[in-house]
């Protein structure tokens, strides 16, 4: 008997395949000396942005709520990951394990942040939710900008201003207010990024094809109908939101541990929008689309640097954002582009016959 393969799981396997293939090819290219140093330095952040895009797609594409504070969760993950990596320095000498532990703590911080915002706020919908997530992102940025964190033999010290921040002589200051985290040991590696993407795919794809995932998508498509058949709105919304935030936290930890210093203003509103552009361009709800869009759009500007396009990059993103929305949502344009697509398909079929 022929075994039936679920369309969803087939799609999922293709995604894993793409990631593994990309990893193998890039590794081979690095081995062959075909990747320049500047491009190599982009690999880890590109992995982080892929994870960010896939996780934001869970909120925007699959849950159908706009989050404008995704960078806030990334920031939480980055700074808690950095603090964890320094505190675990002696407890876990093995670097990959310490990186994994730091990322786990980053994910935990992200999830915690997601729950704190999510529990009260997910009762709101649409524009209100968007503006509150935006506000939350700003609050996180503001708080980390005034935060001082350090460790010495007596334990961890946290203060809200530099004059109250006192450490023992052998203490290490980790986060220094507006200067951000400095003196971070770079632990991140491309392989870690690759594994993080696989884990993200595993989590998100299994969630989407599970009972919970179907409930979440039902909420997106018609909240009232879903509620009336007994789907617990808050529970499933919160589930999607917290998982999304946790993945962003893990990506943030990897991102933070890729640089020797990180400032909170790196994770501002612009970063949230950048990730949103990846998601929208890749296609709302399409995990593969998010992955490809994030990887390409993150690396492309670097490749095009010689063309002096950097100045126009954000302008082009803005235009893309508007155009994609108009083309996919305006009835007239939709039928127009739809008929174009049909024509080209017919041509292809005609050529094949």
């Amino acid at each position: 008997m022929k075994k039936k393969v679920n369309k969803n799981s087939l799609n999922g396997f293709i995604n894993y395949g793409i990631v593994v293939a990309a990893y193998v090819v890039i590794r081979a290219m690095i081995g062959g000396g075909m990747v320049s140093n500047s491009l190599q330095s982009l690999l880890v952040p590109a992995c982080c942005y892929v994870v960010m895009a896939v996780s934001l797609n869970l909120t925007v594409g699959i849950l159908g709520e706009l989050s404008l504070g995704h960078a806030g969760f990334m920031s939480l993950g980055a700074f808690s990951g950095i603090v964890a990596s320094i505190m675990l320095q002696e407890a876990i000498p093995f670097i990959p394990l310490r990186l994994a532990a730091s990322m786990a703590i980053g994910a935990l911080a992200g999830a915690l942040g997601g729950a704190i915002v999510g529990v009260p706020v997910l009762r709101l919908q649409g524009d209100y939710l968007a503006i509150v997530t935006l506000a939350f992102g700003q609050i996180i940025k503001n708080i980390i900008m005034v935060l001082y964190v350090g460790v010495d033999e007596t334990g961890i010290h946290v203060a809200a201003s530099s004059d109250r921040f006192v450490l023992a002589d052998d203490g290490v200051a980790i986060i220094k207010g507006p200067m951000g985290a400095v003196g971070v040991t770079k632990l991140a590696s491309f392989t870690a990024g690759f594994i993080l993407i696989l884990v993200t795919l595993l989590v998100v794809q299994n969630l989407v094809s599970s009972r919970a995932g179907r409930a979440i998508m039902a909420l997106r498509d018609n909240r009232i109908a879903a509620e009336s058949v007994g789907i617990n709105v808050t529970k499933y919304k919160l589930m999607a939101f917290v998982i999304s935030a946790a993945l962003a936290g893990a990506a943030g930890a990897l991102f933070g541990l890729n640089y020797s210093s990180t400032v909170a203003s790196k994770f501002d509103f612009n970063t949230s929008i950048l990730v949103l552009v990846f998601v929208v361009l890749g296609g709302l709800g399409s995990i593969r689309g998010s992955m490809i869009a994030a990887a390409l759009l993150y690396v492309l500007p670097e490749l095009l640097r010689s063309f002096d396009i950097a100045e126009y990059r954000m302008l082009i993103y803005a235009i893309i954002l508007i155009l994609v929305m108009l083309v996919t949502n305006n009835p007239t344009m939709k039928t127009f582009f739809g008929s174009l697509l049909k024509k080209s398909k017919k041509k292809k079929e005609g050529a094949g016959a």
Binding site: I139, N142, L276, L315, A318
Partner: protein
């Protein structure tokens, strides 16, 4: 005395927020959308006044007029090109488009006028000293409050007394019914955007006179704060925008004075979150139950 000074600063800042919040509240009331680009229209208005007064050395009133005209046109163009095609689309699509427009304006301004901050020349100078060395009010602050009151009275009269104002209210209540009564809904929405953008221009000039730095991102944070004010007062309500704006201005000033300058944004947004949780319809908004 520093308490009184803070109250005065708060009220004048709040008046500016109130004028911006009106733009949000009117557009939200009619088009049911959050016009994310509203804050960036403020920035464009301020730049217009800056160039008119600084480069072409026109009098202040001409600068303000130019800003109002350009912003009104800009508001109508944005509505026609970006929002009108999406009238039937889900709100997520409209919101993402609005963010796109906001980004477009910011980055367009950066390319056209440069990223460097410019120093804005205030349209009025000097301060009124009430108690020497202790209590004083700058003329800009007085002008802001006066503008805010004039705009509020004008808008209230406009929406209640004139035919156009009545069509606006009809559209915000029920678009389909309004259309059946022969109201041109598209024209009414365009007009709302025009009025909102004109107010944004005035607010931009006032804001840059009070805090004279100008850069392509000048408008975005005040825009978001003013939206907070609109939500605080109850979105869709004109007196609510006034109340919300002034309260938010006072909260922000006091937060800066007594808590921490660095945390003023955090304080403002914490207020937003608390208001939405406790009273989602805002202080003066109507609670509209969802009909199935």
């Amino acid at each position: 005395m520093s308490f009184l000074n803070n109250v005065i600063t708060g009220i004048s800042l709040g008046s500016i927020y109130a004028i911006i919040a009106l733009g949000y509240t009117m557009v939200y009331g009619i088009a049911k959308m959050l016009n994310f680009a509203h804050g960036d229209v403020i920035m464009v208005g301020a730049y217009m006044a800056f160039f008119a007064m600084g480069r072409f050395e026109l009098p202040a009133i001409a600068g303000v007029l130019l800003a109002v005209v350009v912003c009104t046109a800009l508001g109508i163009v944005i509505e026609r090109l970006a929002y009108k095609p999406l009238r039937q689309a889900p709100s997520l699509a409209v919101l993402i488009t609005a963010i796109g427009v906001s980004y477009f304006l910011q980055n367009g301004a950066q390319i056209l006028w440069g990223a460097a901050t410019k120093t804005f020349t205030p349209i009025v100078n000097g301060t009124l000293v009430l108690v020497p060395e202790q209590l004083s009010i700058s003329y800009v602050a007085i002008l802001s409050v006066v503008c805010c009151i004039v705009v509020m009275i004008g808008l209230t009269l406009f929406t209640t007394r004139t035919k156009m104002g009545k069509t606006m209210r009809a559209c915000s209540e029920d678009k389909a019914a309004a259309q059946l009564m022969g109201i041109n809904v598209d024209a009414t929405i365009s007009m709302t955007f025009a009025i909102g953008s004109a107010l944004a221009a005035i607010a931009g000039v006032l804001m840059c006179s009070a805090y004279p730095v100008l850069s392509p991102t000048t408008g975005s944070m005040p825009g978001i704060r003013a939206f907070t004010a609109a939500v605080f007062g109850g979105i869709g309500s004109i007196p609510g925008a006034l109340l919300g704006g002034i309260l938010l201005g006072i909260i922000e000033t006091f937060g800066k004075a007594y808590i921490s300058t660095d945390l003023s944004d955090a304080v403002v947004f914490a207020v937003l979150i608390i208001v939405l949780l406790v009273k989602p319809a805002g202080l003066m908004g109507k609670y509209v139950p969802e009909k199935v």
